[in-house]
Subunit: 288 residues, 2 copies
């Protein structure tokens, strides 16, 4: 393949819009048949400006998808015990179908303990160990939203995964680790790289599929992308810069996600879709 | 390195014996201080000869380690619901500190449902999703026994893991997947290979550490071992044959586990050690 090739862009905006429309249709259908509006409770601790912006975006998108959005704002001084109690109480509230804890929470909070207070059937953000197990073992359950969105993008563009070498750069609990498990479940050969990997470039050069999920601007050099590879950039750094050097990578890749407009919009779309799915499941046969 | 080199053997028998002795010491100490003997309940469904043999071996080893062994034998016709009930009841029994469900259980039983009926604090075999999450996220909890045994062997022989490329061949829920997560937690770059991997030999040739965990005799050719690599063979096939072609591999590797006498004995040793640890934890401050 020549260097003058330009990769096809994986349009997350368009796919996300379609998913939100389908989700809205399902929400309307549930409301019509059972008289219940799907409800997502969002818990925000403190007033970190980025978190406040994300929460506002998610709530606006809920409105578009016909999902009721309940905001629980807690002060920055909230303790782990108080947050756990709030999440347990939402887990037991029959009027709430999905729960999102906006994270990261402050460093004084045990984030894992908070996540685990979310009932698995309401864990539409896919952050609990139960959801990670479901993703890892192919059991019923919700995906972490960004990994789930990445898988939908790969499917939308008919990317063959079986036997392909997927290199995941990053190993966070809600992005790198679960996306690797989802790729493995689809029969990819999966390599996890991270900050301690000795020769990242050499590993990336062998990847049929690269998933960059580390949050370091342009860490992946375009020159290291194997010609014809599929590049998923889940990084989102200041100045709309991804983890991949986009301009060079697109001259070598076959498919690539832009930043913004690639993985980003998919995250919220999956959150909404899973909220409506959770509602259906919780309502039982009547909800389907 | 020349081909006439012979790898140092990783002696799982000797290390396992030492762990069992240490475990016995701890069990005696608990009995002396609190008057409680650590108790492992083993649940056996049916009379599969291999399972019966394993259970007998484990019970004999319990006796050596000062652990009381309670055997619950269920007929082959046991249903999932009945097995779940048995495991839940053992989970609530204060006289039982660890629970082992001998597996595989029959094909008519939902093995995952059975595993999940084991309380995480008694899951000394490390089979629950909760234990997998602990291994994956570096949280307190029990390791799957074979992966836990592999990590102890690697540490015993001072194998550096950080930044090393570990190739795990196999992706089962209790061996391949968790050992990869444990290696990742120790900063190895981890690749999961399996039956759908396109070019297994090429991937193995790049491995600093190979973990073979797939149960196919001599699947890994010795010629594909990188000179100086560390080879962990968790395969155990008829005729005492591992997943690695031992005779050739040992001329190239730096360290290698024999079959038998490598990984095998470690599995039971970790089971016993974790049973006594579980007892300490359940007894609270008095148990330490």
């Amino acid at each position: 393949m020549s260097r003058t090739q330009t990769a096809r862009l994986m349009d997350g905006l368009a796919l996300a819009r379609r998913i939100v429309e389908e989700t809205a249709g399902k929400a309307v259908e549930i409301a019509r048949r059972v008289g219940v509006t799907p409800c997502l409770a969002t818990v925000l601790v403190g007033e970190d400006p980025a978190s406040v912006t994300y929460v506002r975006m998610k709530r606006a998108r809920c409105a578009k998808a016909g999902i009721e959005s309940r905001l629980v704002s807690l002060p920055a001084t909230t303790t782990t015990a108080e947050l756990v109690e709030t999440l347990q109480s939402l887990s037991q509230d029959a009027g709430v179908h999905g729960i999102l804890l906006q994270h990261p929470v402050g460093p004084h909070i045990d984030e894992r303990a908070a996540f685990e207070a979310i009932a698995p059937e309401k864990d539409v953000d896919g952050v609990t160990i139960s959801s990670f197990g479901a993703m890892s073992f192919g059991l019923p359950g919700f995906a972490s939203c960004t990994p789930g969105g990445i898988m939908r993008l790969l499917d939308e563009y008919d990317v063959n995964l079986a036997g392909q070498h997927a290199v995941v750069v990053g190993r966070s609990a809600i992005l790198g680790k679960p996306v690797g498990m989802l790729l493995l479940a689809r029969d990819a050969t999966v390599t996890y790289c991270h900050s301690r990997t000795t020769d990242l470039a050499a590993t990336v050069r062998e990847a049929d599929i690269v998933v960059a999920a580390v949050g370091r601007p342009r860490l992946i050099r375009g020159a290291d992308i194997k010609p014809g590879a599929v590049v998923i950039d889940a990084g989102y750094n200041p100045g709309n810069v991804g983890d991949v050097d986009f301009d060079t990578a697109r001259t070598r890749a076959r498919l690539i996600t832009p930043v913004p407009g690639g993985v980003g919009p998919m995250t919220i779309a999956v959150l909404l879709a899973q909220t409506v799915d959770a509602t259906s499941i919780q309502l039982g046969p009547a909800g389907h």
